[in-house]
Subunit: 384 residues, 3 copies
């Protein structure tokens, strides 16, 4: 029961047996950020301001592999002040009727950009829509393709857990999530249309629920925050996704509506109230040179793919990608003074090679009440 | 001074040089638990109750290897809210007179089940006897076999340290531990008799000592607890082990007595007092299909060994193991209201393959005062 | 874009592609310390005393590699009560005009011993001069050799960050550091002369600055401490280095002067004050057998190199190194009661093999006011 493995380098250290029954890879990522920020007086009076900030956005190690086409697994840890588990799952690949049954700690299937790796997203931070994303939780999910993989369904039940896969105090109980990804047009010249629909439902055990977010700048405070909402009976969220590539050009958008229903015993005059929060974004990305965003049929998302620097060589890199995004978040029903945010991000990314990219993002934020913030931020991203 | 290594997969990623002078392996384990519990009112009034709980019981990475048959080493870290060191040692293999001299942080040689890997134990949690187990500490240990490995002695001196190998505040000083494992009968058809005797002595520097434990359910509170005992002069513990396999059947039991001696200045009317705590368990396991528990002569414990799913193939798994255990803990001398516990555990384990097992355990706990608790818990265990 | 790798063992697990365009290695270190200490009454009245202490001084995992001679990188994490990042950088190797451009979290180029790996230093702890060492911070550095590598210059700008590469609260802002290493004599019989000059400047944003240190004994408290100095305008530090090997003999010394300039609004009567702190050490090391300290031209420091145990075999080890060091620290201007320290360390190190060494150090400390401390400490060091 010992299978020889071949070691090889392919953007990272990998192993496979000749029959490819066994695969294993060792990887990691390191995201170094530097941000220069300014904010208007309305914000300055409430939130502490630091002009420049340096941080390790992500330092992560991952071990993953496949066993006999029966199992796929990942063991991924993020290092920082606290340890956080990223993907920590086992996936069974030979379960009847479905393509894959995943058990463990991983991303709930909700949101196109949410499901795109932080190594691959167009801008340094995900859009405001990810405010509603359930992120990673501990659960069980099945997925199954239909119509020659034109359609893929994901259905999962999750326990809402903390970053270590353990029960989180007081947030809630279970989350039900399903996503349906439809790619009706897949043509030559990297021409792909992707449509997605997702639904998520949470019924907080304690009745407490809270949404908060920064302005797509990780070093900024959570400018928008509903505070702890009490007496929440359930939250239903509906997400729609659009993606379209043609050649070196990507257009991507999402719209998420979140409906919070309060119980008839909710305090603060909220008995039987219904809140509707929403967010959407629209982004476009264009590879000026050396690459394109390509649709991954198996996981239904868009990843950057680089071209060789020199024809015929296996030396990929030297690509440039420009992007523009408009995002909007509306938490008006929460009755907080700050409740809506328009965000515009312009980004330029240099892919030095398949392991390294340098990102520069300018983020302009316009809140209600005329509050404003501006950030110029850069990232050195290295993955292996 | 560069030796080529061959990579291979054998339940995990391993490397060896052709002359086997160098070995190295990368491994990990992931134990996901789900527990449904109920407790009687006597317990409910004192201990908070959570009906269902999800937790990552263990997420651990290990690097281990051998160098020139001179050294064996392991570097093993458990990830969670806090980092904990598991096995972190260097073992010298060519020390005169002994088989092996181990230095570092590792398990003290006390308890048959304590020394069985958490990947290999019959039930999800070790028995109540492990309440007295000194677990891992930082020390030095020698081991030596006698009579064609029929008898093996382990002797160690340890510094009682925290989970990071550093001195623990206020628990104590040194621990002396010795274990003698005797396997007089080793016959065909997996027929083995194992007898063990172990002694452990702790002299707490500060005079403080405490024993506490849950009811073999990790998500439960520590129902039994002596509280901090003051003025403790020393603790002597005596362990006896019995193990017997025949074919697919295992019978295993242990009895540990712990004698706490108080000094003549001990407070709370305990001057010169002697407490005797004890615990024992008896368990049986039977492989319904596809495997057996096999005695490891080198480390004196019983590990599950799987059979190929298909004759002639190296595709091990599909085994089923059923087990039953009765455990008893008596802390009567501690004068706490809750002080004795009878525990019955029934377990069923499915070994999907050599890397994966799914466990289901039912635990019934009967305390003195008629207090009761019941738990149904399951585990998905993946190791590589 | 998949390059086959060969695995091999060379003091650790390493991989390389045949064309050596890709390299990767997995490593770790484990330093176990045991210290017996005594201190005189003057110290005992102020600092808590523990006679014996055990600790894991370092438990560290490292992943490092090279990509296409374009990039070198390291991802190194220290495990303990808190996670700390050690070397976490990406180095660009094909930047015009310079040898190497390093970005990330790594040691500022200040101090010969500071830049020597903790796996390779002569004694268990670095000398008192490292009190002034800026250690690792997050920054950018270029280096360039001149005159056939006789001279190498390092220039870096750093953000003063915590052990996780993030901004540290209230210490300061940026640090500018440059080091010039000059090796005018490199002759036969391991005869090398090294001269070094380094400059470091810090301008604390908040005006707060503090220096504190133990007596070259990691389990001791920080006996010397300036306390928080307020109103500090800038700190300029000047370091000079001397190193000389001949055969199995090393002589090494450093002298660091640190000038703290207070602003005209500094409190505590320190307006416009200038403090001068300084430290120096002189050490000698001699390999009684089996090895020598050899100068690394590429990184300008001295590392132990072992000889084969048996002629013609690749079985290195069995070496013995004896060392003696005198260090001095003067924080007199800080007006603290304890402000100067003379330290003498005698050390004996046994290199069992290239992975393992056992160290024994005796440290005698003489403070002003006649306060004294003595420590006998040992280390088991294992690296892979």
């Amino acid at each position: 029961q010992s299978s020889p493995l071949e070691a090889y380098w392919q953007d990272g250290l990998k192993f496979r047996s000749k029959d490819t029954l066994y695969r294993f890879s060792v990887g990691g990522r390191l995201h170094y950020d530097l941000a220069y920020s300014g904010q208007s007086e309305e914000l300055g009076s409430r939130f502490e301001h630091k002009r420049t900030q340096v941080e390790v956005r992500r330092a992560r190690i991952s071990l993953e592999g496949n066993i006999r086409k029966e199992l796929a697994y990942e063991f991924e840890v993020t290092f920082g002040e606290d340890i956080e588990f990223a993907d920590m799952y086992v996936a069974f690949l030979q379960v009847p009727l479905v393509e894959r049954l995943t058990v463990g700690h991983f991303r709930e299937p909700f949101g196109l950009e949410e499901l795109t790796s932080s190594n691959a997203i167009v801008f340094m931070e995900r859009a405001l829509t990810s405010t509603f994303g359930p992120d990673r939780n501990t659960g069980i999910m099945v997925q199954k393709p239909f119509w020659q993989e034109r359609l893929r369904g994901y259905v999962g039940v999750f326990r809402i857990t903390d970053d270590l896969g353990n029960d989180r105090q007081g947030l809630g109980d279970h989350s039900f999530t399903t996503r349906w990804a439809f790619a009706p047009v897949v043509a030559d010249h990297n021409q792909v249309l992707h449509l997605g629909l997702a639904f998520n439902r949470i019924a907080p055990d304690t009745g407490n629920y809270r949404i908060s977010t920064n302005n797509e700048v990780n070093t900024s405070p959570d400018y928008l925050d509903t505070g702890v909402l009490k007496g929440v009976e359930n939250v239903n969220q509906l997400g729609t996704e659009l993606g379209f590539t043609r050649g070196r050009w990507l257009l991507q958008g999402e719209w998420i509506q979140s409906f919070t229903k309060f119980s008839n015993q909710a305090p603060d005059g909220l008995a039987n109230a219904k809140h509707r929060y929403q967010s959407f974004y629209l982004l476009t990305s264009f590879f000026l040179k050396g690459g394109a965003r390509v649709y991954s049929k198996g996981s239904n998302r868009f990843n950057p793919v680089l071209q060789p620097r020199h024809p015929g060589q296996d030396d990929f890199g030297g690509a440039w990608e420009a992007g523009l995004r408009y995002s909007y978040l509306d938490l008006r029903d929460s009755r907080q003074p700050l409740h809506t945010l328009h965000n515009v991000t312009a980004g330029l990314t240099w892919y030095y090679n398949t392991n390294t990219r340098v990102m520069m993002n300018y983020v302009h934020s316009l809140f209600n009440q005329g509050a404003r913030a501006n950030t110029l931020q850069g990232r050195l991203q290295f993955t292996f």
